[in-house]
């Protein structure tokens, strides 16, 4: 089996369709995974080993074997699968995740905890610290 088919088989087992969320292979390609791998060259060797699958094994059995016998390969395959998936714009849209966005705010705005009384309760509960002895 080619590497791309092997990987997509493993990735679809790891990340199947569920509710609104698509399966890995519905939104991501092997080329996407290879691009992700370019960000993590340290995973390349393990990724290659992880795709060297016995065709007689199911995706789950192959992953089970990797997890037990070659942790580095398991980590490489699963890390690339999950990160590729959650980098995908369609997946992010479905999750409502804009990425680590920049948020503007007014630094001088009065914060709600100052007006709703909650911080006042903290103050009302009194001093917490133990002072320096002898002062």
């Amino acid at each position: 089996m080619s590497k791309d088919k092997t990987f997509l088989g493993l990735a679809d087992f790891l990340i199947p369709a569920h509710g609104e969320m698509p399966a890995f292979g519905s939104v991501c390609s092997f080329a996407d995974a290879e691009k992700a791998l370019d960000f993590r060259v340290d995973l390349k060797e393990g990724f290659e080993r992880g795709l060297d699958a016995d065709p007689a094994l199911s995706a789950e059995a192959h992953l089970e074997k990797l997890n037990k016998e070659d942790g580095a390969a398991f980590t490489a395959v699963t890390t690339i699968a999950i990160c590729t998936y959650y980098m995908n714009p369609r997946v992010r849209e479905l999750l409502g995740y804009p990425g680590q966005e920049s948020v503007q705010y007014d630094s001088k705005a009065t914060q709600i905890y100052l007006t709703d009384g909650s911080l006042g309760h903290v103050l009302a509960r009194g001093r917490k610290y133990r002072p320096t002895p002898g002062l």
């Binding site: 990340i15 990425g99 630094s107 009194g126 133990r130």
Partner: protein, 557 residues
């Protein structure tokens, strides 16, 4: 001209030039010392094994952030595998030490939580009968704390009843967001202390620092240049004042003369060549692992147990703040990828000793967002919430989608920092077989979480679970003690008045080598339970001021 090009002008001293002060390490303490010594007119050379941060390499604003940061910006040097770092032998420790080599030091990857130690932290023997009192008090240090806050550009809200009264912070507190409000709600329902987070992140532009935009990637380097690290807060000023900074300079030995005085340091430069920097005074600011490592590598045949180690205390009493975390998920959306990451609110409810709890000293809690979908999935990456015996299927397939749907954008994390009591058996030694990229022995950490810490964490976890459930948590995940949590490296060259029981005096001067100083957290007699950077920088400023005032009385080679 930018800061880096300014730093390249004549950074390395001329051959055989003797400078007034050589400083090892350009992190928080070394940067404070360099700035203030240079402003006082002393000639200063700082030797830093890492490089200037490259802000374009911080991936926080890019889609690949979670993929890249778990390697390139991992706080564990063994995972990061960067040749500028040294490896650490962690085969004999419960907690991995975390650090970063570069201008700005390990703060490059800190959460920027800005907390003073409390008055009781300086008087643990007097108040609780454990460990030792510090040679100075909270009140002695407070003026330096406030001065450092102005240099760093701290945001916060004064008036916290968990601290003695103090003046305002330089900048208004950052927004606490939905995460902070939910964390506060739980504390409020329990009737417990909480307060809006104080962070070394200005909420308005300040010098070379930009205003925070809540990118939420503080722990993996701030691409906005908003998190205060000394490459931006101190070095532009230090270089203008005349301090010189040599990067990729790994110090391998502090040299001394026949009179036992320091004469300078030997370092390996970027080309792998040994160089000597002569100096009247040497200051070590290489963190609680790097500083004792360097002393243990120094001294030669005259001091086979290491330099400045007649007390036998170099490397001992390592404290790393055992840490637990609780992830709590809620039905309501909390936008829990938004920053600031370090602490949106904190609690000191259980900071002080109550012996009915079955342990002494206490904890500090900080409430932070839980981050992106990969991290909260628990499936890979940090592995914080993955049990070793867990089946991989528990985190994949439909479970992955359900875990992410429940947690992503809907969860917060309470971090629990426990005070770590000093024990001589917890220590830094030199590895017998592991070396760095220059062939120098790596440090080995020998460390066990003690029974007091275990009890402390258990108690605080139980209380934290009560709090998050009071605020409506539908799921909680506990990790304790978190192995990858040794951010705070404390105590390994302890300060004190007795040269037989301590390495340095209260001003950071080594008892054995009076012109060799240590100004990082290695000197702290106890660890407190707050994040130590504020105290590290304040103590460095106090020591530096004293050094300047006493410069004419300084014994030199």
């Amino acid at each position: 001209m930018n800061v880096e090009s300014l730093s390249e002008r004549g950074a390395r001293a001329r051959r055989d030039e003797e400078v007034d002060v050589a400083i090892v390490g350009a992190g928080p303490s070394g940067s404070v010392a360099a700035l203030h010594l240079a402003r006082a007119g002393l000639s200063v050379v700082v030797l830093e094994q890492g490089e200037w941060p490259e802000y374009n390499d911080y991936t926080g604003a890019r889609p690949e952030h979670e993929l890249v940061s778990t390697k390139l910006w991992h706080p564990n040097p063994n995972v990061r595998d960067n040749p500028n770092d040294y490896p650490v032998d962690t085969s004999t420790t419960d907690i991995n030490p975390l650090m970063f080599a570069g201008v700005g030091g390990s703060a490059t990857l800190y959460g920027a939580q800005w907390m003073h130690f409390l008055p009781s932290d300086f008087r643990v023997r007097s108040l609780d009968g454990v460990a030792e009192d510090w040679p100075f008090s909270y009140e002695d240090l407070l003026p330096y704390q406030l001065e450092i806050e102005r240099e760093v550009g701290v945001s916060g809200l004064a008036g916290d009843p968990a601290f003695p009264p103090r003046g305002p912070y330089p900048f208004p507190a950052l927004p606490i967001g939905s995460v902070g409000l939910r964390g506060a709600l739980g504390m409020e329902r329990m009737g417990w202390h909480w307060w809006p987070g104080s962070n070394a992140i200005p909420s308005e532009k300040f010098g070379e620092l930009n205003a925070c935009v809540r990118r939420g990637t503080c722990l993996t380097g701030c691409p906005e240049g908003a998190k205060s690290t000394t490459d931006r807060s101190h070095w532009p000023l230090a270089l203008k004042a005349g301090a010189r900074l040599v990067t990729r300079a790994r110090v391998k030995e502090v040299e001394t003369n026949d009179q036992g005085l320091a004469t300078g340091v030997v370092y390996v430069d970027a080309n792998g060549r040994d160089r000597r920097q002569r100096a009247k005074v040497v200051i070590l600011c290489a963190n609680g692992v790097g500083t004792p490592r360097l002393l243990l590598m120094s001294g030669g045949a005259k001091h086979p147990d290491g330099l400045a180690n007649s007390s036998g205390m170099v490397g001992k009493r390592l404290m790393m703040h055992p840490f637990a975390s609780i992830l709590a998920s809620y039905e309501d959306p909390l936008d829990s990828w938004r920053g600031p990451f370090g602490q949106q609110v904190y609690s000191l409810e259980f900071y002080e000793t109550d012996e009915r709890r079955g342990f002494v000293r206490g904890s500090k809690w900080n409430c932070m967002p839980s981050g992106g979908p990969v991290g909260v999935s628990g499936a890979t990456g940090s592995k914080v919430y993955v049990a070793e015996e867990g089946r991989f299927q528990d985190f994949w397939g439909a479970n992955l989608h359900e875990n992410v749907a429940r947690r992503f954008g809907h969860s917060l994390i309470w971090g629990i920092v426990g005070e770590d009591l000093p024990e001589e058996s917890n220590q830094v030694v030199l590895s017998k077989d592991l070396v760095d990229s220059d062939g120098l022995p790596a440090p080995q950490i020998v460390y066990k979480v003690n029974e007091n810490s275990n009890r402390l964490l258990r108690f605080n976890i139980d209380r934290c679970l009560e709090s998050v459930r009071a605020a409506g948590a539908i799921e909680t995940l506990v990790s304790t003690p978190v192995r990858e949590s040794g951010w705070h490296l404390i105590g390994t060259t302890v300060m004190g008045d007795d040269p037989k029981r301590s390495v340095v005096d209260q001003w950071g001067a080594c008892h054995d080598v009076p012109n060799l100083y240590i100004m990082d957290a290695s000197t702290f007699p106890t660890s407190g339970a707050t994040n130590p950077t504020a105290t590290i920088m304040a103590v460095a400023l106090r020591n530096t001021r004293r050094m300047i005032a006493e410069r004419r009385n300084q014994k030199v080679a």
